[in-house]
């Protein structure tokens, strides 16, 4: 019997390297071989130039708060024990407009500000998969 948990991510063809790197506590994204730009979420072709080639490149995870919500109403059984929790959209320093959804952990929701600096951390889902999350820097 496992504890109530949010769903774990199910990797697909082409996205396993993202989740594998997370398990090694590294944030990687696809960097286009043609235009050199990162994309999130993982996608088969470059979402800027449609080029087919890429490598998985590491990111420091430095970023800033683009927007956030403090979730107070539980819509999932595992949320009952978690509310309030913060879902954040982080704009990563690596590239303008490169944003990802995550959690802001260990923070007072009242202390969050737009453009506040955040730093990468990792949490572990009960099924074992590690997830990239953020803390206020």
């Amino acid at each position: 019997m496992t504890a109530l948990a949010f769903p774990y991510p199910i990797p697909e063809y082409g996205t396993e390297p993202y989740w594998q790197a997370c398990n090694e506590e590294r944030l990687v994204m696809q960097r286009c071989a043609a235009c050199d730009r990162f994309r999130w979420t993982p996608a088969p072709l470059c979402t800027f130039c449609a080029h087919d080639g890429y490598d998985w490149a590491p990111l420091s995870g430095e970023g800033r708060v683009h927007t956030w919500t403090v979730i107070t109403h539980a819509v999932h059984p595992a949320a009952v024990a978690r509310v309030p929790y913060v879902v954040v959209e982080v704009e990563l320093a690596a590239q303008a407009n490169l944003r990802m959804i995550s959690n802001l952990i260990d923070c007072d929701p009242q202390a969050i500000r737009f453009d506040a600096a955040v730093a990468l951390a990792f949490t572990q889902h009960p099924d074992g998969q590690k997830l990239p999350v953020f803390r206020l820097a």
Partner: protein, 389 residues
């Protein structure tokens, strides 16, 4: 001829009661609503040869045809993206079918037990599968599940960029409730709401409050579409589909997580075409139907469909502008998704037709043009309807 402008009409409207528990199957609701719309048009089920549906509607067109007695279907199609493609896009499909001779009379409908959960899972609750695949695999592990939670991210960003406040979202909720209180068929009839009530309602996903969110509803709603010349001989004054369009772009991804910093949206894509096709401007619109899933998205839709500039929505929705009878542009005059019933936008289409027939409870005097949108935040659809005045 490069558009369907004025080549098709909505000739029949019908719906069931809107409730928290219908007590009957989704197929029964669909048949009741569609049967009512066909009767309203003065047609019989045997006259209907096409059905368009929301992709996510559980009802199968051939079940409907078998139960209602439609002997032959020549056209059936569906449109995706829930309340984005559904309430207007299905009607656009119907209009294209009749305008091009692919069918004579087409029904577009939505029927669901979304509140009781008897058939359709409640949209405000998360699926409880242990794992998430595809786009959800990047959201659900963080506890981001419901449309309300996703919209909250964009709402906060809009507040930051433009100085929009919760009370501006409240204006939209209060407007729809005001109209619902003049509509005895509305789920929230008899339950008035003030701005103070809105501001006192509990947070769901800060900054979204409970009263920023639409209802959840069991029910069915349907319309019948024919070619304009066929419509001339039917029961009601003709309501023309003067322009209709779909819109999407690169900002539509990750469900309803919006990039509201992008200069365009699904709504701006449509606005560029639909007014041109109808040959009118925003100033010609007499009554407004903006899909009201969540109040912040209503405000953003008003801006991006071009009724005001970005950032001006907060002033546009204030001072009673959207409220019948005194506001200059009454919106969602039967209560909308927020307060009449959540028929995934189809209830707004039905009310738009009533307005243009001159039979609405909150009748806008001399209404000639109605703008009707589907849900933004996802790929969406919108149309302009007009009568013969």
């Amino acid at each position: 001829m490069d558009s369907i402008s004025d080549r098709a009409c909505i000739v029949g409207i019908g719906h069931t009661e809107y409730s928290r528990d219908s007590g009957r199957s989704e197929l029964k609701l669909a048949c009741e609503a569609i049967g009512a719309a066909i009767a309203d048009a003065g047609l019989t089920p045997a006259d209907i040869d096409g059905i368009t549906k929301y992709t996510m509607d559980n009802n199968d067109p051939i079940d409907i045809a078998r139960n209602l007695g439609m002997p032959e279907l020549r056209f059936f199609a569906e449109l995706n993206y829930g309340g984005g493609g559904g309430p207007v896009g299905t009607i656009q499909l119907a209009a294209m079918a009749v305008a091009t001779g692919q069918a004579k009379a087409v029904v577009a409908f939505r029927a669901m037990n979304e509140r009781s959960g008897r058939g359709t899972p409640r949209f405000g609750q998360a699926a409880t599968a242990p794992g998430a695949a595809g786009a959800a695999s990047y959201l659900s592990p963080y506890g981001l599940f419901s449309p309300a939670q996703m919209v909250a991210l964009a709402a906060r960003r809009h507040m930051h960029l433009y100085g929009t406040e919760s009370r501006h979202f409240g204006e939209i909720a209060v407007t729809c409730r005001h109209h619902a209180n003049m509509n005895p068929d509305a789920m929230m009839h008899g339950r008035p709401m003030s701005l103070a009530d809105h501001e006192a309602s509990r947070m769901i996903a800060d900054p979204l409050r409970l009263l920023d969110c639409c209802l959840e509803t069991d029910g069915g709603a349907a319309v019948v579409v024919t070619r304009a010349d066929v419509a001339r001989d039917l029961r009601h004054p003709r309501v023309f589909i003067s322009g209709a369009g779909l819109g999407a772009g690169h900002w539509n991804h990750r469900f309803m997580v919006r990039d509201i910093d992008a200069p365009d949206s699904e709504s701006t894509v449509i606005a560029r075409h639909v007014f041109r096709d109808a040959g009118i401007t925003h100033a010609d619109i007499d009554v407004l139907f903006i899909y009201d899933h969540f109040t912040p998205l209503v405000l953003m839709a008003i801006e991006d469909f071009g009724f005001c500039k970005r950032g001006e929505g907060k002033d546009f929705v204030s001072n009673g502008r959207l409220r019948w009878p005194d506001g200059e542009l009454p919106m969602n005059t039967s209560g909308g998704n927020l307060s009449e019933g959540y028929m995934h936008g189809m209830q707004n289409v039905i009310e738009a037709v009533r307005q243009l027939r001159g039979e609405a409870r909150c009748q806008v005097k001399d209404a000639r043009h109605a703008f009707v949108s589907a849900g933004n935040g996802v790929p969406t659809s919108a149309m302009i309807l007009r009568n013969e005045k």
